[in-house]
Symmetry: C2
Subunit: 228 residues, 2 copies
DNA sequence: TAAAAAAGTTAGCCATGACTAACAAATTAA
DNA sequence: TTAATTTGTTAGTCATGGCTAACTTTTTTA
Protein backbone atom coordinates (compact mmCIF):
# COMPACT_ATOMS: atom_id res chain seq x y z
CA UNK A 1 0.00 0.00 0.00
CA UNK A 2 1.47 3.30 -1.14
CA UNK A 3 -0.43 5.52 1.34
CA UNK A 4 1.57 8.66 0.61
CA UNK A 5 0.71 10.61 3.77
CA UNK A 6 -2.98 10.83 3.17
CA UNK A 7 -3.84 14.50 3.50
CA UNK A 8 -7.48 13.90 2.74
CA UNK A 9 -7.64 17.11 0.77
CA UNK A 10 -10.58 15.84 -1.21
CA UNK A 11 -13.67 17.89 -1.90
CA UNK A 12 -17.12 16.52 -1.15
CA UNK A 13 -17.62 15.95 -4.88
CA UNK A 14 -14.39 14.05 -5.29
CA UNK A 15 -15.36 11.84 -2.38
CA UNK A 16 -18.81 11.24 -3.86
CA UNK A 17 -17.33 10.11 -7.17
CA UNK A 18 -14.81 7.77 -5.56
CA UNK A 19 -17.45 6.17 -3.37
CA UNK A 20 -19.86 5.77 -6.28
CA UNK A 21 -17.21 4.16 -8.44
CA UNK A 22 -16.31 1.78 -5.64
CA UNK A 23 -19.92 0.81 -5.17
CA UNK A 24 -20.39 0.11 -8.85
CA UNK A 25 -17.12 -1.79 -9.16
CA UNK A 26 -17.09 -3.79 -5.95
CA UNK A 27 -20.53 -3.88 -4.45
CA UNK A 28 -22.59 -4.26 -7.61
CA UNK A 29 -19.80 -6.50 -8.92
CA UNK A 30 -19.99 -4.99 -12.38
CA UNK A 31 -16.89 -6.30 -14.09
CA UNK A 32 -16.45 -3.03 -15.97
CA UNK A 33 -17.77 0.42 -15.23
CA UNK A 34 -18.06 3.10 -17.87
CA UNK A 35 -18.32 6.86 -17.75
CA UNK A 36 -22.05 7.02 -18.56
CA UNK A 37 -22.87 4.34 -16.04
CA UNK A 38 -21.18 6.37 -13.32
CA UNK A 39 -22.98 9.51 -14.52
CA UNK A 40 -26.31 7.69 -14.35
CA UNK A 41 -25.58 6.42 -10.86
CA UNK A 42 -24.67 9.86 -9.56
CA UNK A 43 -27.46 11.57 -11.52
CA UNK A 44 -25.12 14.00 -13.23
CA UNK A 45 -24.32 14.50 -16.91
CA UNK A 46 -21.67 12.37 -18.64
CA UNK A 47 -19.72 15.56 -19.24
CA UNK A 48 -19.51 16.23 -15.50
CA UNK A 49 -18.33 12.70 -14.86
CA UNK A 50 -15.74 12.90 -17.58
CA UNK A 51 -14.43 16.10 -16.12
CA UNK A 52 -14.17 14.75 -12.59
CA UNK A 53 -12.61 11.47 -13.73
CA UNK A 54 -9.86 13.50 -15.38
CA UNK A 55 -9.09 15.15 -12.08
CA UNK A 56 -9.17 11.90 -10.14
CA UNK A 57 -6.82 10.32 -12.68
CA UNK A 58 -4.40 13.21 -12.24
CA UNK A 59 -4.53 12.62 -8.48
CA UNK A 60 -3.95 8.91 -9.08
CA UNK A 61 -7.12 7.65 -7.48
CA UNK A 62 -8.62 6.42 -10.75
CA UNK A 63 -7.10 4.69 -13.76
CA UNK A 64 -8.53 4.31 -17.26
CA UNK A 65 -7.49 4.54 -20.88
CA UNK A 66 -9.12 6.94 -23.28
CA UNK A 67 -12.50 5.51 -24.24
CA UNK A 68 -11.80 2.68 -21.80
CA UNK A 69 -13.45 1.50 -18.62
CA UNK A 70 -12.79 2.97 -15.17
CA UNK A 71 -10.93 1.45 -12.27
CA UNK A 72 -9.76 2.58 -8.83
CA UNK A 73 -6.17 2.56 -7.58
CA UNK A 74 -5.44 1.11 -4.15
CA UNK A 75 -5.44 4.64 -2.76
CA UNK A 76 -8.78 5.35 -4.42
CA UNK A 77 -10.28 2.19 -2.95
CA UNK A 78 -8.90 3.04 0.45
CA UNK A 79 -10.63 6.43 0.43
CA UNK A 80 -13.92 4.87 -0.70
CA UNK A 81 -13.78 2.25 2.04
CA UNK A 82 -13.19 4.88 4.67
CA UNK A 83 -16.23 6.79 3.40
CA UNK A 84 -18.33 3.64 3.57
CA UNK A 85 -17.06 3.02 7.08
CA UNK A 86 -18.09 6.52 8.12
CA UNK A 87 -21.46 6.25 6.41
CA UNK A 88 -22.31 2.95 8.09
CA UNK A 89 -21.10 3.97 11.53
CA UNK A 90 -23.20 7.13 11.41
CA UNK A 91 -26.23 5.15 10.26
CA UNK A 92 -25.74 2.82 13.17
CA UNK A 93 -25.44 5.71 15.59
CA UNK A 94 -28.59 7.38 14.25
CA UNK A 95 -30.64 4.19 14.55
CA UNK A 96 -29.31 2.88 17.83
CA UNK A 97 -28.98 6.11 19.80
CA UNK A 98 -31.01 8.84 18.11
CA UNK A 99 -34.30 7.05 17.35
CA UNK A 100 -33.95 7.17 13.58
CA UNK A 101 -35.68 4.45 11.56
CA UNK A 102 -33.74 2.68 8.82
CA UNK A 103 -35.48 4.64 6.09
CA UNK A 104 -34.50 7.98 7.68
CA UNK A 105 -30.78 7.49 8.09
CA UNK A 106 -29.44 7.54 4.56
CA UNK A 107 -29.69 11.25 3.71
CA UNK A 108 -28.20 12.39 6.99
CA UNK A 109 -25.40 9.81 6.85
CA UNK A 110 -24.69 11.01 3.32
CA UNK A 111 -23.83 14.40 4.85
CA UNK A 112 -22.07 13.09 7.94
CA UNK A 113 -19.71 10.84 5.97
CA UNK A 114 -17.93 13.94 4.64
CA UNK A 115 -16.95 15.28 8.07
CA UNK A 116 -13.19 15.20 8.28
CA UNK A 117 -11.82 13.91 11.59
CA UNK A 118 -10.16 10.57 12.23
CA UNK A 119 -10.67 10.93 15.95
CA UNK A 120 -14.39 11.57 15.52
CA UNK A 121 -15.07 8.38 13.63
CA UNK A 122 -12.78 6.16 15.68
CA UNK A 123 -14.28 7.43 18.93
CA UNK A 124 -17.78 6.99 17.58
CA UNK A 125 -16.85 3.41 16.73
CA UNK A 126 -15.53 2.85 20.25
CA UNK A 127 -18.54 4.56 21.83
CA UNK A 128 -20.85 2.07 20.09
CA UNK A 129 -18.52 -0.78 21.07
CA UNK A 130 -17.28 -1.53 17.55
CA UNK A 131 -20.49 -2.59 15.80
CA UNK A 132 -20.08 -5.15 13.03
CA UNK A 133 -23.16 -4.35 10.96
CA UNK A 134 -25.12 -1.24 10.02
CA UNK A 135 -28.93 -0.98 10.34
CA UNK A 136 -29.42 -2.42 6.85
CA UNK A 137 -27.33 -5.47 7.67
CA UNK A 138 -24.18 -4.46 5.78
CA UNK A 139 -20.74 -5.03 7.30
CA UNK A 140 -18.91 -1.97 8.65
CA UNK A 141 -15.24 -1.73 7.55
CA UNK A 142 -12.90 -1.50 10.55
CA UNK A 143 -10.39 1.26 11.34
CA UNK A 144 -7.70 -0.55 9.33
CA UNK A 145 -9.83 -0.22 6.21
CA UNK A 146 -10.57 -3.91 5.94
CA UNK A 147 -13.56 -4.26 3.70
CA UNK A 148 -15.57 -7.42 3.27
CA UNK A 149 -18.90 -8.26 1.79
CA UNK A 150 -21.53 -10.25 3.62
CA UNK A 151 -22.22 -13.60 1.93
CA UNK A 152 -25.68 -12.98 0.52
CA UNK A 153 -27.99 -13.63 -2.39
CA UNK A 154 -31.18 -11.91 -3.44
CA UNK A 155 -34.53 -13.27 -2.31
CA UNK A 156 -35.50 -13.33 -5.99
CA UNK A 157 -32.87 -15.98 -6.73
CA UNK A 158 -34.52 -18.60 -4.50
CA UNK A 159 -36.83 -21.41 -5.56
CA UNK A 160 -40.03 -22.84 -4.15
CA UNK A 161 -39.47 -24.60 -0.86
CA UNK A 162 -36.31 -22.71 0.01
CA UNK A 163 -35.99 -21.27 3.50
CA UNK A 164 -33.75 -18.30 4.21
CA UNK A 165 -32.85 -15.60 6.70
CA UNK A 166 -33.02 -11.91 5.83
CA UNK A 167 -29.45 -10.63 6.25
CA UNK A 168 -29.55 -7.21 4.57
CA UNK A 169 -31.62 -4.82 2.52
CA UNK A 170 -30.68 -2.44 -0.27
CA UNK A 171 -30.66 1.02 1.28
CA UNK A 172 -31.04 2.91 -1.97
CA UNK A 173 -34.73 3.75 -1.64
CA UNK A 174 -36.66 5.20 1.28
CA UNK A 175 -39.96 3.89 -0.07
CA UNK A 176 -38.62 0.38 -0.31
CA UNK A 177 -37.32 0.46 3.25
CA UNK A 178 -40.62 1.75 4.59
CA UNK A 179 -42.41 -1.00 2.68
CA UNK A 180 -40.15 -3.69 4.15
CA UNK A 181 -40.87 -2.52 7.70
CA UNK A 182 -44.57 -2.10 7.11
CA UNK A 183 -45.15 -5.69 6.04
CA UNK A 184 -43.26 -6.80 9.12
CA UNK A 185 -39.91 -7.92 7.73
CA UNK A 186 -36.73 -7.10 9.63
CA UNK A 187 -33.11 -8.25 9.79
CA UNK A 188 -32.95 -11.91 10.81
CA UNK A 189 -36.54 -12.65 9.77
CA UNK A 190 -36.85 -16.26 8.62
CA UNK A 191 -38.56 -16.44 5.24
CA UNK A 192 -40.03 -19.46 3.44
CA UNK A 193 -40.55 -19.30 -0.31
CA UNK A 194 -44.00 -20.78 -0.90
CA UNK A 195 -44.36 -20.19 -4.61
CA UNK A 196 -42.59 -18.48 -7.49
CA UNK A 197 -45.07 -17.44 -10.16
CA UNK A 198 -43.67 -18.01 -13.63
CA UNK A 199 -45.75 -15.26 -15.25
CA UNK A 200 -44.17 -12.24 -13.55
CA UNK A 201 -41.66 -13.86 -11.18
CA UNK A 202 -43.62 -12.58 -8.18
CA UNK A 203 -43.05 -14.61 -5.03
CA UNK A 204 -45.34 -15.80 -2.26
CA UNK A 205 -43.42 -15.82 0.99
CA UNK A 206 -44.21 -16.67 4.59
CA UNK A 207 -42.56 -15.18 7.66
CA UNK A 208 -43.70 -14.72 11.28
CA UNK A 209 -46.99 -16.49 10.38
CA UNK A 210 -47.66 -13.85 7.72
CA UNK A 211 -48.11 -14.69 4.04
CA UNK A 212 -47.32 -12.00 1.49
CA UNK A 213 -46.83 -11.80 -2.24
CA UNK A 214 -43.96 -9.61 -3.33
CA UNK A 215 -42.78 -8.55 -6.78
CA UNK A 216 -39.48 -9.56 -8.30
CA UNK A 217 -38.35 -5.93 -8.01
CA UNK A 218 -38.96 -6.11 -4.28
CA UNK A 219 -37.22 -9.48 -3.95
CA UNK A 220 -34.22 -8.13 -5.88
CA UNK A 221 -33.58 -5.70 -3.04
CA UNK A 222 -33.89 -8.18 -0.19
CA UNK A 223 -30.68 -10.02 0.62
CA UNK A 224 -30.83 -13.39 2.30
CA UNK A 225 -28.79 -16.35 3.40
CA UNK A 226 -30.21 -19.71 2.41
CA UNK A 227 -30.91 -22.07 5.31
CA UNK A 228 -32.71 -24.93 3.57
CA UNK B 1 -41.76 36.49 13.69
CA UNK B 2 -42.15 36.25 9.92
CA UNK B 3 -40.70 32.74 9.61
CA UNK B 4 -41.76 32.23 6.02
CA UNK B 5 -41.55 28.43 5.91
CA UNK B 6 -37.85 28.16 6.56
CA UNK B 7 -36.49 26.01 3.79
CA UNK B 8 -32.94 26.28 5.04
CA UNK B 9 -31.64 26.45 1.52
CA UNK B 10 -28.51 28.18 2.68
CA UNK B 11 -25.03 27.26 1.53
CA UNK B 12 -22.26 26.61 4.01
CA UNK B 13 -20.78 30.01 3.18
CA UNK B 14 -24.03 31.85 3.71
CA UNK B 15 -24.39 30.17 7.08
CA UNK B 16 -20.83 31.09 8.02
CA UNK B 17 -21.42 34.75 7.26
CA UNK B 18 -24.70 34.90 9.19
CA UNK B 19 -23.16 33.25 12.21
CA UNK B 20 -20.10 35.50 12.11
CA UNK B 21 -22.23 38.62 11.87
CA UNK B 22 -24.33 37.44 14.79
CA UNK B 23 -21.25 36.80 16.89
CA UNK B 24 -19.84 40.25 16.17
CA UNK B 25 -23.17 42.00 16.74
CA UNK B 26 -24.48 40.15 19.77
CA UNK B 27 -21.71 38.24 21.44
CA UNK B 28 -18.92 40.76 21.10
CA UNK B 29 -21.52 43.49 21.71
CA UNK B 30 -20.04 45.75 19.06
CA UNK B 31 -22.70 48.41 18.63
CA UNK B 32 -21.99 48.60 14.91
CA UNK B 33 -20.37 46.11 12.59
CA UNK B 34 -18.84 47.12 9.29
CA UNK B 35 -17.94 45.26 6.16
CA UNK B 36 -14.18 45.19 6.77
CA UNK B 37 -14.63 44.09 10.35
CA UNK B 38 -16.65 41.11 9.17
CA UNK B 39 -14.05 40.37 6.48
CA UNK B 40 -11.32 40.42 9.12
CA UNK B 41 -13.25 38.10 11.39
CA UNK B 42 -13.88 35.57 8.64
CA UNK B 43 -10.38 35.96 7.21
CA UNK B 44 -11.60 36.78 3.72
CA UNK B 45 -11.19 39.91 1.62
CA UNK B 46 -13.55 42.89 2.02
CA UNK B 47 -14.64 42.29 -1.57
CA UNK B 48 -15.81 38.79 -0.75
CA UNK B 49 -17.75 40.05 2.23
CA UNK B 50 -19.33 42.81 0.22
CA UNK B 51 -20.43 40.31 -2.37
CA UNK B 52 -21.96 37.92 0.14
CA UNK B 53 -23.68 40.70 2.07
CA UNK B 54 -25.41 41.71 -1.15
CA UNK B 55 -26.80 38.21 -1.49
CA UNK B 56 -27.88 38.02 2.14
CA UNK B 57 -29.62 41.40 1.81
CA UNK B 58 -31.52 40.13 -1.23
CA UNK B 59 -32.61 37.13 0.82
CA UNK B 60 -33.63 39.47 3.64
CA UNK B 61 -31.35 38.06 6.29
CA UNK B 62 -29.21 41.19 6.50
CA UNK B 63 -30.05 44.88 6.36
CA UNK B 64 -27.74 47.83 5.72
CA UNK B 65 -27.61 51.08 3.78
CA UNK B 66 -24.96 51.77 1.20
CA UNK B 67 -21.73 52.63 3.02
CA UNK B 68 -23.61 51.92 6.26
CA UNK B 69 -23.22 49.37 9.02
CA UNK B 70 -24.60 45.84 8.94
CA UNK B 71 -27.48 44.37 10.89
CA UNK B 72 -29.39 41.08 10.91
CA UNK B 73 -33.13 40.67 10.39
CA UNK B 74 -35.09 38.49 12.81
CA UNK B 75 -34.88 35.66 10.30
CA UNK B 76 -31.12 36.15 9.98
CA UNK B 77 -30.70 36.05 13.74
CA UNK B 78 -32.86 32.96 13.97
CA UNK B 79 -30.64 31.11 11.52
CA UNK B 80 -27.50 32.19 13.37
CA UNK B 81 -28.91 31.05 16.71
CA UNK B 82 -29.78 27.65 15.29
CA UNK B 83 -26.19 27.32 14.01
CA UNK B 84 -24.83 28.23 17.43
CA UNK B 85 -27.19 25.68 18.99
CA UNK B 86 -25.89 22.98 16.68
CA UNK B 87 -22.28 23.97 17.22
CA UNK B 88 -22.56 23.88 21.01
CA UNK B 89 -24.55 20.65 21.13
CA UNK B 90 -21.97 18.92 18.95
CA UNK B 91 -19.13 20.26 21.10
CA UNK B 92 -20.87 18.90 24.16
CA UNK B 93 -21.34 15.52 22.52
CA UNK B 94 -17.70 15.35 21.46
CA UNK B 95 -16.44 16.17 24.94
CA UNK B 96 -18.89 14.18 27.00
CA UNK B 97 -19.20 11.03 24.90
CA UNK B 98 -16.30 10.87 22.46
CA UNK B 99 -13.32 11.76 24.67
CA UNK B 100 -12.49 15.04 22.96
CA UNK B 101 -10.76 17.71 25.02
CA UNK B 102 -12.09 21.24 24.86
CA UNK B 103 -9.30 22.39 22.59
CA UNK B 104 -10.09 19.66 20.05
CA UNK B 105 -13.79 20.22 19.53
CA UNK B 106 -14.01 23.50 17.70
CA UNK B 107 -12.86 22.49 14.21
CA UNK B 108 -15.01 19.38 14.11
CA UNK B 109 -18.07 21.21 15.46
CA UNK B 110 -17.49 23.85 12.81
CA UNK B 111 -18.13 21.13 10.21
CA UNK B 112 -20.93 19.38 12.07
CA UNK B 113 -22.97 22.56 12.55
CA UNK B 114 -23.69 22.61 8.81
CA UNK B 115 -25.37 19.19 8.74
CA UNK B 116 -28.98 19.73 7.76
CA UNK B 117 -31.48 17.70 9.81
CA UNK B 118 -33.81 18.99 12.47
CA UNK B 119 -34.36 15.50 13.79
CA UNK B 120 -30.64 14.90 14.15
CA UNK B 121 -30.02 17.89 16.38
CA UNK B 122 -33.17 17.55 18.46
CA UNK B 123 -32.50 13.88 19.08
CA UNK B 124 -28.89 14.61 19.95
CA UNK B 125 -30.16 17.17 22.47
CA UNK B 126 -32.55 14.61 23.96
CA UNK B 127 -29.87 11.91 23.99
CA UNK B 128 -27.64 14.13 26.15
CA UNK B 129 -30.64 15.05 28.31
CA UNK B 130 -30.87 18.68 27.19
CA UNK B 131 -27.55 20.08 28.37
CA UNK B 132 -27.56 23.75 29.36
CA UNK B 133 -23.91 24.59 28.75
CA UNK B 134 -21.24 23.63 26.24
CA UNK B 135 -17.71 22.52 27.25
CA UNK B 136 -16.47 26.12 27.26
CA UNK B 137 -19.23 27.19 29.62
CA UNK B 138 -21.44 28.97 27.07
CA UNK B 139 -25.23 28.54 27.16
CA UNK B 140 -26.80 26.30 24.51
CA UNK B 141 -29.88 27.82 22.80
CA UNK B 142 -32.93 25.53 23.10
CA UNK B 143 -35.01 24.04 20.29
CA UNK B 144 -37.25 27.13 20.27
CA UNK B 145 -34.27 29.29 19.37
CA UNK B 146 -34.14 31.10 22.69
CA UNK B 147 -30.75 32.64 22.98
CA UNK B 148 -29.30 34.10 26.13
CA UNK B 149 -25.88 35.16 27.25
CA UNK B 150 -24.28 34.01 30.47
CA UNK B 151 -23.69 36.88 32.91
CA UNK B 152 -19.94 37.17 32.79
CA UNK B 153 -17.01 39.54 32.87
CA UNK B 154 -13.39 39.05 31.91
CA UNK B 155 -10.81 38.09 34.49
CA UNK B 156 -8.83 41.12 33.35
CA UNK B 157 -11.54 43.48 34.61
CA UNK B 158 -11.09 42.44 38.25
CA UNK B 159 -9.08 44.20 40.93
CA UNK B 160 -6.74 43.07 43.68
CA UNK B 161 -8.58 41.13 46.36
CA UNK B 162 -11.47 40.10 44.14
CA UNK B 163 -12.56 36.46 44.20
CA UNK B 164 -14.39 34.91 41.24
CA UNK B 165 -15.49 31.68 39.65
CA UNK B 166 -14.42 30.69 36.13
CA UNK B 167 -17.69 30.39 34.15
CA UNK B 168 -16.51 30.27 30.54
CA UNK B 169 -13.51 30.57 28.24
CA UNK B 170 -13.16 32.07 24.79
CA UNK B 171 -13.01 29.12 22.39
CA UNK B 172 -11.36 31.00 19.54
CA UNK B 173 -7.84 29.63 20.03
CA UNK B 174 -6.65 26.07 20.48
CA UNK B 175 -3.38 27.21 22.04
CA UNK B 176 -5.18 29.31 24.63
CA UNK B 177 -7.48 26.42 25.61
CA UNK B 178 -4.54 24.04 25.98
CA UNK B 179 -2.76 26.61 28.10
CA UNK B 180 -5.79 27.02 30.40
CA UNK B 181 -5.96 23.26 30.99
CA UNK B 182 -2.23 22.90 31.46
CA UNK B 183 -2.00 25.36 34.32
CA UNK B 184 -4.88 23.55 35.99
CA UNK B 185 -7.82 25.91 35.43
CA UNK B 186 -11.23 24.49 34.55
CA UNK B 187 -14.86 25.57 34.57
CA UNK B 188 -15.99 26.40 38.14
CA UNK B 189 -12.43 26.95 39.38
CA UNK B 190 -12.41 29.55 42.14
CA UNK B 191 -9.82 32.25 41.46
CA UNK B 192 -8.41 34.92 43.76
CA UNK B 193 -6.80 38.00 42.29
CA UNK B 194 -3.64 38.54 44.34
CA UNK B 195 -2.09 41.41 42.42
CA UNK B 196 -2.58 43.46 39.27
CA UNK B 197 0.71 44.80 38.02
CA UNK B 198 0.37 48.34 36.71
CA UNK B 199 3.28 48.07 34.28
CA UNK B 200 1.79 45.52 31.87
CA UNK B 201 -1.56 44.68 33.50
CA UNK B 202 -0.40 41.14 34.16
CA UNK B 203 -2.20 39.45 37.04
CA UNK B 204 -1.09 37.16 39.84
CA UNK B 205 -3.87 34.72 40.60
CA UNK B 206 -4.34 31.86 43.02
CA UNK B 207 -6.56 28.80 42.46
CA UNK B 208 -6.46 25.25 43.86
CA UNK B 209 -3.42 26.25 45.95
CA UNK B 210 -1.55 27.18 42.82
CA UNK B 211 -0.20 30.67 42.19
CA UNK B 212 0.30 31.78 38.60
CA UNK B 213 1.00 35.01 36.79
CA UNK B 214 -1.00 35.50 33.62
CA UNK B 215 -0.91 38.24 30.98
CA UNK B 216 -3.73 40.65 30.30
CA UNK B 217 -4.25 38.92 26.93
CA UNK B 218 -4.82 35.66 28.76
CA UNK B 219 -7.14 37.25 31.32
CA UNK B 220 -9.17 38.88 28.52
CA UNK B 221 -10.18 35.42 27.35
CA UNK B 222 -11.16 34.03 30.74
CA UNK B 223 -14.75 34.79 31.73
CA UNK B 224 -15.69 34.85 35.38
CA UNK B 225 -18.44 35.66 37.82
CA UNK B 226 -17.39 37.77 40.74
CA UNK B 227 -18.00 36.23 44.16
CA UNK B 228 -16.30 38.72 46.50
C1' DT C 1 -11.72 72.66 6.96
C1' DA C 2 -8.77 70.42 3.95
C1' DA C 3 -5.77 66.48 3.56
C1' DA C 4 -4.94 61.82 4.98
C1' DA C 5 -6.55 57.55 6.42
C1' DA C 6 -9.90 54.15 6.78
C1' DA C 7 -13.87 51.87 5.18
C1' DG C 8 -16.78 50.38 1.57
C1' DT C 9 -17.63 49.34 -3.39
C1' DT C 10 -16.95 47.84 -8.09
C1' DA C 11 -14.83 45.53 -11.97
C1' DG C 12 -12.70 41.84 -13.50
C1' DC C 13 -10.21 37.44 -12.72
C1' DC C 14 -9.82 32.46 -11.07
C1' DA C 15 -11.20 27.50 -9.64
C1' DT C 16 -14.82 24.24 -8.82
C1' DG C 17 -18.31 21.57 -10.52
C1' DA C 18 -22.49 21.63 -12.62
C1' DC C 19 -24.77 22.04 -17.52
C1' DT C 20 -25.87 21.58 -23.05
C1' DA C 21 -24.60 20.88 -27.69
C1' DA C 22 -21.71 18.96 -30.89
C1' DC C 23 -18.59 15.58 -32.14
C1' DA C 24 -15.65 11.13 -32.11
C1' DA C 25 -14.93 6.40 -31.09
C1' DA C 26 -16.53 1.90 -30.06
C1' DT C 27 -19.92 -1.44 -30.09
C1' DT C 28 -24.00 -3.76 -31.84
C1' DA C 29 -27.17 -5.06 -35.35
C1' DA C 30 -28.72 -5.49 -39.92
C1' DT D 1 -19.01 -5.09 -43.17
C1' DT D 2 -21.42 -1.16 -43.24
C1' DA D 3 -24.95 1.47 -40.71
C1' DA D 4 -27.11 2.55 -36.47
C1' DT D 5 -26.72 3.03 -31.76
C1' DT D 6 -24.41 3.63 -27.68
C1' DT D 7 -20.65 5.48 -25.19
C1' DG D 8 -17.13 8.75 -24.38
C1' DT D 9 -15.06 13.38 -25.18
C1' DT D 10 -14.61 18.29 -25.98
C1' DA D 11 -15.91 23.07 -26.14
C1' DG D 12 -18.18 26.54 -24.21
C1' DT D 13 -21.59 28.38 -20.59
C1' DC D 14 -23.23 29.25 -15.87
C1' DA D 15 -23.35 29.98 -10.58
C1' DT D 16 -20.77 30.09 -6.38
C1' DG D 17 -17.43 32.12 -3.72
C1' DG D 18 -12.95 33.25 -3.44
C1' DC D 19 -9.22 36.93 -5.05
C1' DT D 20 -6.62 41.76 -6.46
C1' DA D 21 -6.59 46.35 -8.08
C1' DA D 22 -8.72 50.51 -8.58
C1' DC D 23 -12.02 53.58 -7.16
C1' DT D 24 -15.46 56.20 -4.07
C1' DT D 25 -17.30 57.58 0.20
C1' DT D 26 -16.85 58.46 4.97
C1' DT D 27 -14.30 59.46 8.93
C1' DT D 28 -10.39 61.15 11.30
C1' DT D 29 -6.85 64.27 12.29
C1' DA D 30 -3.64 67.86 11.59
Amino acid sequence: MTNKLNLNNLTKSEEDYLKALFQLLIEDNSAKVGNNQLADYLKVSPASTNNMIKKLKAKEYVVSEKYGKLDLTEEGKSIAVRLIRKHRLWETFLCNYLNFTWDEVHDVAEQLEHIKSHKLIDELDRFMDFPKKDPHGELIPNADGEYSILPKITLSSLEEGDVCKLVAVNDGSVNFLKYVSEIGLALSSEIQVLEVREFDKSIRIQFNNVIETVTKKFADNVFVKKIV
